[in-house]
Point group: C2
Chain length 385, copies 2
C-alpha cells in the first residue's frame, strides 16, 4: 500500500546519516563519560564535541547547552528550576502552549508555587503583545517568567522572539520559549536573541527520540533538576545517552547545513498543497495563520474541510486506511481522541469544522501531495453526495 | 595496544544484538507512539511489547513498568513522587547509596520536605537491619519511605530485599530499592518481593544508555514526575525513546535468557581473579564483602593494594596507560577525582589504602585477567622496590 507520512510536526523519520552515526557510536564508544579512563574519556569527548557543535550552530557557547531526555524535560527543567531556584513567583504563558509547558505551569499553580496568567490571543491565535506588556507592567516587583512558544505546533504561528524577549528584558522578566518546532528548521542566533531558556527536541528534525537540550543563558543559580551524579555540570544527573547525543549532533548539523535548500523545497510543497486544496476542495479553510506563507512556519498547515467532528473522525480513519498519516492536533494529545484544544481555545463556538494538521519534511514529494489531495477530494465528494 | 575493560559496573559494552535491534527500530519504526495513525500505532506497539516482555521477565504486570531516561531518573521519580504524592514525611536510607538516591534525599531534606535518617552499617558496609527496625519502630505514625540499594555499586554487598521489604511492610513503610546493579544480573520475582519501587538502567546489562524504568507497585496516587503529554499513563511526559526502549527490551531478554550460564562464567572469573591476586600480590585486601563469593555480587570486586592515595592515582594512571579500565569508585563521582565516599564511610580512619573496583562482564576472559594481574604485580613490585 502507498504510504504518505505528513505528520512531521509529531515526529520525523530519522535521517540515514543520523542512524549511521548512532550505530557507529554504540559500536565504538560505549564508555561512561564520567569514567576517567580511556573508554570514559572517549565517550566524554563525544558528548563535549556534540555540545560544542550544537552551541556553535545556534551561536552560543557550549556551557549554555544542557542535554536532556527531550523537549518536554527541557521545558520542565527551565520552568521548574526558574520557580525553585530563581525566585519566580509569577508565570505568564498562553493557553495554546504545548502541554509540556501548559501542564507544567498549571501544576505549579495548583501547588500554589506561582501566580499563573495567560496572555490574550488574537483571532488567529497569535499572542497579543500589548496585553503581554500590560500584564508585565501591572506587577513590576513580582519576579516573572514568560513562557511562550516560538512556533505553535498545531497552527504554525510564529512568535516574534526578539520583540517578546526585549519586552521581557525591559520588565525584568525571564523569558523561556519552547522552540521544539523551530530549532532545526529556522536559524537562531542566541548571542543576539534576548531569551533566557529554549527547549529543543532532536526527533523533530530527523534526529533520535529521547534526547534534546535546554539552552540556559545563565545557569549560575540553577540547582539540579534530576539529582545524582555530577553530569551536565551538576544540572542533570544520569549517565548521558551518548549515542543519542551523537545522533542529535548529526541531525542538527545536517539540518543547518541544508537549511535554506530544504526550507525552499518544503515551502514549495506547502505552497502547492495550499493552492491545490483551494482549487480542489470547496469551502477549505486554513486555521491560525497556517495558510499564510510569511507568518507561519513552512513545515505545517492546519486545514478545515466542511465536516462535522464525527465525519472528521471517519475521514481521518479513511485517510489512515489509505496510508496517509496526519493528525487532528498535537500527537501528545491525539491518543486521547479529543479535538484540538488549540483550535477550541482560539475559535471557541466559532469552530464549525475541526482541523487536520498536515506537516511536511524534506522526504515528502509533490507526488505524495497529489495523492493525498486526490483522496481528500474523493472523501469530500463522497461526503457531500 | 591491548585493551581490557573491567569497569562494567560503570557501564557495559552494548551487545551486538541490542545494537541491531536499535538500528532496525530506528529504520523501520520512527512513528510517534502517541499518534493514532498506522505509523504511531506501530511505534506504540513496539513500546508496549517491550513493556510486557520486561514485566514478564520480572514476574510483574506491564502496568507497573514506567519507562524513564535511566536509573537516576527512576530513583528520583520514586523518591520525589513518594514525598509529593504519597505523604511520605520521613526517609530512611544509607550513607553509601548511589548519589542518584543520596543527593535526592539530601535535597528533599534541605528543602525541609522530609526528615532524613541513615541506617547504621556494619564493619563490612552491610545494612544493620536491627537498627533499621528500631528506626522504623520509633516513629510509627510518620509515613516513611525506606530507600536502600539491592547491590552496592562499589563494594558489591547484597541487601536481603525480602527481609527488608517485609520489615517495611510490618511497619507500614514504603520500600524503594535502587536495583541498577542487580536487574539483568539476578533473577527477581516482583510478584513475591515486598518492594514498592525499584529503579533499573539498561546500560548496566549491555543495553543502551539513556533508558531505564521505574517499577511502581501501585501508581494510583502518583502524579507526573515530568509534566506534559499523557505518555506512560500520565506519569512521565515526553515522546518515548522508542529505539532505546526496544534496546532495553532486547538487553533484558538476552540477560535473562543466558543468566545462569553467564553468572557461572563471570563468577568463575571473579573467583580466579581473587585467588590469583591473593597468591600474587602481598597484602591485597578485598573491601566490603566483595571478596566473599556468596555475600557479594559476582560482577565486581573492590581491591586494596598497599598503596597510598597518591600512589594509587599514579597506579590507576599506569593501568590506564596499559589499556586497563577500572575505577576508584562509582563513575558518577570519578570525574571529580576524589576517593571513594563509600569506603570512607565504612572504614573512616581505618581506611589505610584506597580501593580499586574491577567489574566483570560476559565479554571478559581469563586471559584478560592474567594480563591485568601481571601488570598489577609489576606495578606493586615496582612500588615496593
Amino acid at each position: 500500500m502507498k504510504s504518505v507520512y505528513l505528520d512531521n510536526a509529531a515526529t520525523t523519520p530519522i535521517d540515514n546519516q543520523v542512524i549511521a552515526a548512532i550505530h557507529e557510536s554504540m559500536l565504538a564508544n560505549f564508555g561512561n563519560p564520567s569514567s576517567t579512563h580511556a573508554f570514559g574519556r572517549k565517550a566524554k569527548a563525544a558528548v563535549e564535541t556534540a555540545r560544542k557543535s550544537i552551541a556553535s550552530l545556534l551561536h552560543t557557547t557550549a556551557a549554555n547547552i544542557v542535554f536532556t531526555s527531550g523537549g518536554t524535560e527541557a521545558d520542565n527543567m527551565a520552568i521548574i528550576c526558574a520557580v525553585r531556584d530563581l525566585g519566580v513567583k509569577r508565570i505568564i504563558s498562553s493557553k495554546i502552549e504545548h502541554h509540556a509547558v501548559l501542564n507544567c505551569v498549571e501544576f505549579l499553580e495548583a501547588e500554589a508555587l506561582i501566580d499563573l496568567q495567560f496572555v490574550n490571543l488574537d483571532e488567529n491565535g497569535s499572542v497579543d503583545v500589548s496585553h503581554l506588556e500590560s500584564l508585565l507592567a501591572e506587577s513590576p516587583s513580582v519576579k516573572t517568567l514568560v513562557s511562550l512558544m516560538h512556533i505553535n505546533n498545531e497552527i504554525g504561528n510564529i512568535l516574534d522572539l526578539k520583540a517578546v524577549g526585549e519586552l521581557c528584558k525591559t520588565h525584568n522578566a525571564l523569558f523561556h520559549s519552547d522552540t521544539v518546532q523551530s530549532v532545526g528548521h529556522f536559524s537562531m542566533n542566541l548571542e543576539e536573541l534576548p531569551v533566557d531558556f529554549i527547549a529543543v527536541s532532536a526527533h523533530k528534525f530527523h534526529g533520535p527520540k529521547g534526547v534534546g537540550f535546554l539552552y540556559a543563558k545563565s545557569r549560575t543559580h540553577l540547582k539540579p533538576f534530576i539529582h545524582g551524579g555530577s553530569q551536565e555540570r551538576d544540572l542533570r544527573a544520569g549517565t548521558e545517552s551518548v549515542h543519542n547525543i551523537v545522533g542529535l549532533q548529526k541531525a542538527m548539523e545536517l539540518a543547518y547545513l541544508n537549511l535554506e535548500k530544504e526550507r525552499a523545497y518544503i515551502t514549495s510543497l506547502k505552497r502547492y498543497f495550499i493552492h491545490t486544496l483551494m482549487d480542489e476542495i470547496p469551502g477549505v479553510r486554513f486555521n491560525g495563520l497556517s495558510g499564510n506563507l510569511e507568518k507561519s512556519t513552512y513545515t505545517l498547515v492546519n486545514v478545515s474541510i466542511p465536516l462535522s467532528a464525527s465525519e472528521m473522525d471517519m475521514f481521518l480513519f479513511q485517510l489512515d486506511l489509505k496510508g496517509i498519516a496526519c493528525s487532528k492536533g498535537s500527537a501528545c494529545q491525539s491518543g486521547a481522541q479529543i479535538g484540538s484544544f488549540v483550535l477550541n481555545e482560539i475559535y471557541g463556538d466559532n469552530l464549525d469544522y475541526p482541523g487536520i494538521r498536515f506537516s511536511f519534511s524534506k522526504y515528502n514529494s509533490k507526488e505524495e501531495l497529489d495523492y493525498v489531495i486526490s483522496i481528500l477530494k474523493d472523501l469530500a465528494i463522497l461526503k457531500s453526495s
